[in-house]
Amino acid sequence: MAELEARARAGASRPLSPHLQIYKPMLTMMMSIAHRITGAALYFGMLLFAWWLIAAAAGANTYAGFETFMGSLIGRLILFGYTWALLHHLLGGIRHLIWDTLHGLEPAEREMLAAATLIGSIALTIVLWVVGYLVTGGPR
């Protein structure tokens, strides 16, 4: 008994449950991972949002610097990724709230919800960017 406890404390070779790489990738699993990654990306994306607000409050010169960055190719790419991450996390969050009510958990339903999250987020991102460019000419 004492020996068993000592081994447990030392973290001796206890069997571990199989980790991610042993499973075949499934859509629901990939969407779960994407939800976490987009959440983490949006976490740091708040820096960009803060920069926007601070630049607007700081005056025309600072705001011009922000606009120059956002209008550049890298700025537009970041904003495009930001748009998709935000919409994907939003739709994924709605999916989780539906699951919280114990609805949509059957195999076909959860596959449908996962696909809807992915297709919806991509479609909405494109719609927003088309509207953005048509209405305003895009980020300057």
Binding site: R36, G39, A40, L42, Y43, M46, L47, F49, A50, L53, I54, A56, A57, A58, G59, A60, Y63, A64, L86, L90, G93, I94, H96, L97, D100, L128, V131, G132, V135, T136, G137, G138, P139, R140
Partner: protein, 131 residues
């Protein structure tokens, strides 16, 4: 017996407490901020799209208007809780070494407070028109 005597059993002490030592309150708060986040995020997208391509004076004026400023302040407060809990969950899942875990949780709090306060200050400055 050098250790202080406890009336409660070890099971009673840990029941309902997760790795963050606060039970299900964070789980629930994450749901509350998710629900609130839906209309706030949609409103924010509308605001950002409406302001895109406008000059700095117009942007500053619209961001500082009472309704827009209130929506953004609500978004900031709601998002602060949501992102703080979310990142804490990620840290607790992946960081196991005690010192690094503690420092990561601390850094999470600092990041959220600084970003939220700086953003809120900018909105309030625009709103109160101290230019």
């Amino acid at each position: 017996m050098s250790a202080p005597r406890r009336i409660v059993t070890p099971m009673r002490r840990v029941r309902g407490l997760g790795a963050a030592r606060s039970g299900t309150s964070h789980f629930w708060l994450q749901r509350v901020t998710s629900v609130a986040g839906i209309p706030l995020t949609i409103a924010l997208i509308v605001i950002v799209m409406a302001l895109m391509g406008r000059g700095p004076a117009a942007v500053a004026q619209i961001l500082g208007s009472p309704i827009v400023a209130t929506i953004i302040l609500l978004f900031l407060l709601n998002t602060a809780y949501h992102m703080w809990i979310g990142m804490q969950e990620i840290i607790l899942d992946y960081v196991h070494e005690d010192t690094f875990k503690m420092l990561s949780l601390m850094a999470n709090t600092f990041f959220v407070v600084v970003v939220t306060l700086a953003s809120a200050f900018a909105i309030l400055k625009l709103s109160f028109g101290v230019n």
